[in-house]
Symmetry: C2
Subunit: 135 residues, 2 copies
């Protein structure tokens, strides 16, 4: 039986902050945007419709939960969610707190400019802040 | 009581093709990408987490259903889904069939270049094709 393992390209440039019932949650190390990525712990899934109905339900509830946490912490103008997978096929859902005037506003964050890493302290602080509210 | 009405900016440049239990489905008139937009028929919703749990569940199942229909018709390399709302606050979910080498590949479609309308016949043909499979 094939087991779930996180695609190394999704692990890159992000840190693990929580494990929910279906998804692992990672914080992308990009100081320009508060940006989480949820990855369902199921092997060989690249499209939403390949998840079972029950997993789809769990996914959307976990996505909404992360979105609400980011909204609560960062008071963004808008939360963006998206599952593209044009670069990395393993299914993953982005949840990004968008501020009017941020580095990509009002366009999408994907493919916009270059990532700017947090300082080590800021990365830890944001990761802990989000993780605490997801508990 | 406030009633649902479709934001005119979402109605623009698209045609209605189906009404599911929660969402209306529209086909964007952009011949570059097979691109549907789902709008939950609920007033005053701009964020996913403002929908009830039951509506979130319905939304993801309807999103997956549309994604699977587009996948079946167009055999894309990848289906992209996303709810951004940076321009139009009314909650809406995009479902786009992406072909490797299409006009925005591998980037996101949002904000990429200019819309290219279908011919009237091609618009009708694609709308009917998708609508028939959603029935």
């Amino acid at each position: 039986m094939t087991e779930f393992s996180l695609d190394p390209r999704l692990a890159e440039d992000s840190v693990g902050i929580a494990q929910l019932n279906l998804c692992i949650v990672r914080l992308r190390n990009d100081a320009r945007f508060p940006w989480c990525v949820l990855v369902p712990m199921r092997p060989l899934i690249s499209e939403l419709f390949e998840l079972s109905d029950a997993d789809q339900t769990q996914l959307i509830h976990e996505t909404a939960r992360v979105a609400k946490v980011l909204d609560g912490i960062y008071s963004p103008h808008k939360v963006n969610i998206g599952a593209l997978g044009n670069h990395v096929a393993q299914f993953h859902m982005h949840v990004i707190a968008r501020r009017s005037g941020d580095a990509a506003w009002p366009g999408p964050v994907w493919g916009a400019g270059q990532r700017i890493g947090y300082s080590g302290e800021e990365l830890m602080r944001n990761a802990q802040l989000i993780a605490a509210r997801l508990r």
